[in-house]
Symmetry: C2
Subunit: 214 residues, 2 copies
């Protein structure tokens, strides 16, 4: 079971999710409308809904399983509140964050920056930041394997902090215990062969791994 | 005089620059084609050009003032090489980086991450990362004023590192000497009034300031 958290970034094409029966869909603010318009169920609609029209608000109330409405003037962002609620829906289900890259660069960065917050450190391994041509996961120090999601995917390692002891194996460009004093983007690495997972490890810091296609 | 550095991120609409006579245009890889197609002069075309067709390559050679072609397999990215060349075109002109937000999230982050590199620290104040609805500048510790670029702009302060002593004044949501142990995105602040610059200062770290519109 996957929890799909659909945010409200401006978009032109209809939403497409890797949705399977039994998954849960959470629409954040205008994300609830995107879900409904694309024919997905809305298990939870959450936000201050200051971006929806009165007509859209009536639609959200009528067609969502559950609605949580907040004051617009609050300390947490809609996305932070939605993520806290999504985490409560299951103790272990992966949470796929969709439609987070849109018009405003500050919004986009504030969503990526959730991964720095102390309160989300324990659940980082459940988060997948998805877009049509990218998926991003964040890792704490350790040793990991990454399966190739699509045959044409590039593999990029983005230090979200300084990183110590980064080793990359089973990829085109390998690396042995490299240290980076500032955040560093190592992009366009490649899987060796279909079905052959990439391996990486590091000793300190926070690392994002992105699979992306042209 | 502004140096416009136009990158090759995928785009659907024609390019629009804040171009004035006397400015210089640098096209990076497919960015050179975007410049030519939109009717701008190309003072320098630079890159490995592995993303352009033979016909486009002939067009670039014929219509650009100067062309620098590199091997595809090199240590620096096209954008890094282009920025180094752009810096050599003038000792002080601002460099506006355009068309940097596109399909691949790893590309996008690697371009933003230029601001962490030691070799670009001395020229950070010359860089403006532009997109149709956003502009981003990066600041080192100090005291600054920010003029509102458009009347409907939000103002966001993004700590690219931990930040010490962040003070925000002459904005809707003020702050006095706040410390952040991890990178933090403070978004959707507002200018007080048209023509009234916002003020901020901080003591350590690297801070991005974004002006953005919905």
């Amino acid at each position: 079971m996957i929890i799909h958290l659909v945010l409200g970034a401006p978009r032109e094409e209809p939403l497409t999710l890797d949705y399977q029966s039994g998954d849960l869909c959470v629409g954040v603010d205008y994300g609830a409308i995107y879900l409904l318009n694309a024919g997905y169920p809305v298990d939870l609609a959450i936000g201050d809904f200051d971006s929806v029209t009165e007509h859209e608000w009536q639609q959200i109330k009528k067609e969502s399983q559950r609605v949580e409405k907040f004051q617009a003037d609050k300390d947490d962002t809609d996305t932070e509140l939605a993520l806290l609620h999504a985490l409560n829906l299951s103790d272990e289900a992966p949470i796929h964050i969709h439609n987070w890259i849109g018009g405003r660069l500050d919004h986009f960065l504030s969503i990526l920056y959730l991964v720095y917050q102390e309160r989300f450190q324990a659940v980082l391994s459940r988060l997948v930041f998805c877009s049509p041509k990218n998926s991003l996961r964040v890792y704490q120090p350790g040793h990991y394997q990454v399966e190739q999601a699509h045959s044409d995917n590039y593999l990029s390692y983005i230090g979200l902090t300084p990183i110590k002891g980064l080793t990359l194996r089973q990829v085109k460009y390998t690396l042995e215990s490299a240290d980076y004093d500032v955040p560093r983007a190592l992009i366009s690495n490649e899987f060796l062969a279909e079905g052959q997972p990439a391996e990486f490890s590091f000793e300190s810091g926070l690392l994002a791994v992105i699979q992306s296609r042209d």
